[in-house]
């Protein structure tokens, strides 16, 4: 088998390895084909038909996300027929979707909205019976609203292929088709471990992280490293009005991709716990009183200096922390060795 094959997309040639899809080949050329059910880190399914293209020798329109590139293939991605067909697909999805976008957490951050805008779908001509379901929000982490689901199946594939818990799956068929845990139960009480990876894959507001659902649109996202276990997942802290309001993940993180666990995705609220200390405390007559940094640091320095003078540096010890950064651990051992003059430094978890 040749190790590369050449095809033509919108009049431009591109060489790709066998097995490449037309979608991937087009992206190499910088040609944008809209998608909905496709995610680069999941098995392509060709379910939504938003990515339709024309290819010589292929009857009708084909889904670019599953169509394998072939040698000599000639593909068109942007004809009037294609635009019309894609718009129809999106219009049908909207016809079966709640219309009150303003009330949705994903408003202005919704792939369905963006597709409709990109494809010029403004009016929905068909307004028939719409699916009606109760949202599942009886847990602290995830809101699942089947009415907003576009049946792209990304959450089902994420749950099967990435998190490999097989909790979310299809139930019923046709108009009644929907995604649920086994036996159409709520998430709480199913085998779900609330990793929330399905939330990261959902194109609409059908699966939402409760903290973000409640907070509204964040002002910024800051990529950082999770403070819990030693895996070191990366994620984005979502910040609004100077507060961390939630956590999002995507496939670009080196170690974890879009995977996180319930702690990383939903446990960061400890940062804003009302129990956080906000001023130095000094114990006076057995009770803590708040004080200034100046007084607190002055007291610590004076006592440490006094104990060192009276008993020598080895009468002082420090415990460093696996919770602190490398730079802070480095500084504390430097402080103990170079400033206090002892090797009495250890950290709490020797594991």
């Amino acid at each position: 088998m040749a190790d590369r094959l050449t095809l033509t997309i919108d009049g431009r040639q591109v060489s790709v390895p066998p097995g490449t899809t037309v979608l991937a080949a087009a992206r190499l050329l910088g040609i944008n084909i809209p998608t909905l059910c496709h995610l680069a880190d999941l098995t392509p399914e060709g379910a939504c038909r938003v990515c339709l293209v024309e290819a010589d020798g292929v009857r009708g329109l084909a889904a670019a996300c599953t169509l394998p590139a072939a040698a000599g293939m000639v593909v068109r991605t942007n004809t009037a027929a294609i635009r019309e067909a894609r718009a129809l697909v999106v219009e049908l999805l909207l016809a079966n979707h709640p219309a009150d976008c303003n009330a949705c957490q994903r408003n202005l951050d919704c792939e369905l909205q963006r597709l409709a805008a990109d494809l010029g779908v403004r009016a929905v001509r068909f307004r028939g019976e719409r699916r009606r379901y109760q949202p599942d929000d009886a847990n602290p982490f995830i809101v699942r609203d089947n009415e907003k689901c576009v049946l792209c199946g990304r959450c089902v594939r994420v749950c099967k292929e990435v998190q490999v818990c097989n909790v979310l799956d299809w139930t019923e068929r046709g108009f009644a088709s929907k995604v649920t845990p086994a036996f159409d139960t709520a998430l709480d009480g199913s085998a779900c471990v609330f990793c929330g990876t399905c939330v990261s894959a959902c194109p609409t507001g059908a699966l939402a992280a409760k903290p973000l659902y409640e907070a509204g649109r964040p002002d910024k996202k800051v990529r950082t490293t999770c403070p819990f276990c030693g895996v070191g997942c990366n994620f984005d802290l979502n910040v609004k009005d100077g507060q961390v309001v939630g956590v999002t993940s995507d496939e670009t993180s080196a170690v974890n991709g879009r995977l996180l666990c319930v702690k990383g995705r939903f446990g960061i609220d400890y940062v804003h716990s009302p129990d956080r200390l906000t001023a130095p405390l000094v114990k006076k007559d057995g009770a803590f009183v708040e004080t200034s940094w100046d007084e607190a640091l002055g007291l610590v320095a004076a006592r440490l200096a006094g104990i060192k003078a009276a008993h020598g540096p080895d009468a002082i010890a420090a415990l460093s922390s696996a919770r602190c950064t490398n730079e802070e651990n480095y500084l504390l051992q430097k402080f103990m060795r170079a400033v206090v003059g002892t090797n009495n430094i250890d950290h709490c978890a020797r594991t």
Binding site: V255, L319, N329
Partner: protein, 538 residues
Amino acid sequence: MAGLATSFGSGAMTNSIGEIPDNKVMFVIGANPPEAHPVIGAKMRQALKRGARLIVADPRKTELAAAAHVWLRLRPGTDVALINGLLNIIIENSWHDDAFIAECTTGFAAVAAVAAQYPPDRVERITGVPAPLLRQAAEMYATAERAAIFYTLGITEHTCGTDNVMSLANLAMLTGNVGKPAAGVNPLRGQNNVQGACDMGALPNFLPGYQQLKWPDVRQKFATAWEAAVPDKPGYTLPDMFDAAVRGDLKAMFIMGEDPVLSDADAHHVRKGLESLDFLVCQNLFLTETAKLADVVLPAASFAEKDGTFTTTERRIQRVRQAIAPIGGSRPDWRIICDLAARLGYPLTYGSPEEIMAEIAALTPVYAGVSYPRLAAAGLQWPVPSAGHPGTPYLHENGKFACGLGYFQPIEYEPPAEVPDADYPFLLTTGRILYHYNVSTHRRAARLTAHRPEEKIMVHPADAARLGLADGAAAAVASRRGRVRAKAQVTDAVPPGVVWMSFHFPATPTNEITSGAYDKVTKTYEYKVCAVKIEAAP
């Protein structure tokens, strides 16, 4: 850490998390990744989906134990006997890798002699694992083209923790499973930056990058850079500190970011040590149980409020980025240390954590090529010996160990320090659950707490019936050191005679009852095994 450092010359995960989905054979011992390292758990499930074979050694029927091709349900604390048994079977069947042993290792003969003392029937008597299962596990691991070992606290939190780790190193070297992808010996670090705290020399006998304190040229290098003498006497380890405080030799402690009263074994001894001090300073986000004993508490900023780096279990140095301003009057730990140093007459004038990292890189060979711009996209896995070096996904390539040759260490089985008896007839082992993190999320992380508000003691149905304990009923668990209460969870996930608890809940301070015995080398407490009695609590 000490065990792997002795055998391989480097105490870290030899391989990478990204290799896990491609693993062919995984041997998971004393680890429960789906709960303690959930993303590694997911990658292991991906490997299983792709046809990997799984061997699990665990007294508890964990998710992975239930999914394993071979589940070795050993008695807690008998790991060394189990591993020696595997060595025995592998050598008897000539499944070992003669070429690797000859070219890359030393000390094999002594290990073979010890292994010969552990025939399957003896190992069955010690561990409770049926001999045919041992044979299956040995064959699956040893005859695989490549196989990887994963372990965590279940292996290290024993009086024989170092022995356990060196035994696993023996097993990997015997079969040539080191120095290639999807193989190796992989300790999974429990906390986000344990690896980094060790790397940075927050250890009484090492300077940053595992440079030995005892080497004069190392001390000289740091003394020159720091313009201060570096003392040559090794310091106290953590358990030594509390002993020294009780004796009156230690007068003051500075505790940054930790809560040893809740997190360390034998809480009474820890508390007594801290109460014996003349002066205690704690620097923390919260008024922890430990901080309540302090004379001064300094409010620290959280990871979201500062810049820096963490080093993960796979040796990956990654950025921590400031997202919000420090809450209230709190300050980042690094600033507090700088300010304190200045008041003691030693100005530390870093403008940012990036400048501190530049100093670390200059003094630490395994971090030499690290700089913030290079960490931006995906971090770097140490060793990173130079600015152009791409980092190191797996260690000891082609069997070239960091210490030259890999050292086989003959290890004999020793029973745990405390075993059940008539007064304390149950064996308690401890671990982590999915929904909490150490002692720090309960109550403070509101959503996790709402979902999992309290401790549950796992008790086997037969034991529960004898004790008259119903599922969900209040129970009291007592050891020679203390007594705690929690609800019973009646489940056959634990074998008869064994009970299991986590240590996440201040209302059930499990470490009031765990053992203060610790490993003779690393001074890691034996959290994993102690004798207890249980009764229904009114």
